[in-house]
Symmetry: C2
Subunit: 271 residues, 2 copies
Amino acid sequence: MDNRPIGVFDSGMGGLTAVRQMIRLLPGEDIVYFGDTGRVPYGGRSAETIVRYARQDVAFLRSFDLKAIVIACGTVSTTAMDVLKGENDLPILGVVQPAAQAAASATKTGNIGVIGTKATIRSGAYETAISALLSKAQLTAKACPLLVPLVEDGRVRRGDAVTERVVEEYLSSVKAAGVDTLVLGCTHYPLLMDVISDYMGNSVTLIDTGEEAARAAAALLAKRNQLNDPDRAGVRLYYASDSAEDFAATANLFLGKDISDRVERVAIENY
Amino acid sequence: MDNRPIGVFDSGMGGLTAVRQMIRLLPGEDIVYFGDTGRVPYGGRSAETIVRYARQDVAFLRSFDLKAIVIACGTVSTTAMDVLKGENDLPILGVVQPAAQAAASATKTGNIGVIGTKATIRSGAYETAISALLSKAQLTAKACPLLVPLVEDGRVRRGDAVTERVVEEYLSSVKAAGVDTLVLGCTHYPLLMDVISDYMGNSVTLIDTGEEAARAAAALLAKRNQLNDPDRAGVRLYYASDSAEDFAATANLFLGKDISDRVERVAIENY
């Protein structure tokens, strides 16, 4: 047993979709979450800047004594994972490997789509990981730069004409390729599940990267005998680099519950 | 005569629409531009964060010996202007006052619309400035959070179905109010002039805040006898907080010319 908390971070609010799953799967675990809301979004920035920001995010989380870190951000997982692993002596999980495994298991035809931010698609990381597991995989990748701004603006519901139009435009090539599995390669995208599912149709399996990362974290901790007592009530602390009030106000959308009294602001550029 | 450069800054690329006008009106002036591309966009962040970032932007620019600073950013002009003026002993011009004067001059009916980022509309700064000049002004303001992501993604042209749909949605209340003048309260928006003008119709005057700020800078320097020799060729230096290559690649869209060999990266968090 290991009663230290798990650190989780994202460029902003998206990683809370992973936290939500972690709370469900690992109710006894303490979690320290950092969302870099003062510098979100990461997905359009250069690899060099993404690595620099990710290093600061990890340095802040490591001011706590953690047993593991979950990178609940598609952009950081695809662009800075190797650097972060090389520099840190604790287990670091990203969203790529768990999502690749889920996609390789789910597909029947081997025809798989991947959507993500510009940086994520530029990295080719999901394609590399899926091809390593399934050499015959046929992959169609598409960068979707407007989806994060739409989600951060709360425009996630069925019937939002702009969101539906944007999703249709981005996914038309993926749909035309006839994929049977689609990796939602950014932790913001599960909030668009309804709109994406309506467009792609019921026959296409959507892979929720946050959910897969939460499962992988649970499996890793179990294997290392590092789970906390599952019967205790885990404590979650939330930190953000912009206003704590704004974070709390939007977190509900991602997390499905109120966290207003547990958010603090961090000066992330000092880490 | 004063041969020192003018400092200009924005959250990202938008301020280059003001630089373009400054080059036209003040060809002999040297300009130092900073775009905070590592932290763009500002418009959805808290006032506290916007002020903190703007202070660093000014501190960087003041590492040069400047004769004036132009805040070529609607969000900073509406949210951090008073703080910056109080802390600096050189002339600082924002976009609000020049745009308010242009709108008050242009309107025949006094019925004026204002669009901007969330922070800009929350501040009420344009409304305050216009009402002070034209007490009978009837104002309709609308926050347009998706316009900056659309412009930064290069989706500015007529016929872009998403951009046209977003513009229609944001401007429907402004159009319904029957305004005869519309303040484009963010320096990104002039790139959407065609789409906005198509929707609003020819009878509505659009106020380009970057252009008005450039005119105000020219008038101020003339009045203070601080213009440089107009027959010399002004030198412009460009700095960005994310990749210099990415900045140069997109700058053409805003500036109408190539600047690839004159962009340098700045570690803005050190200022």
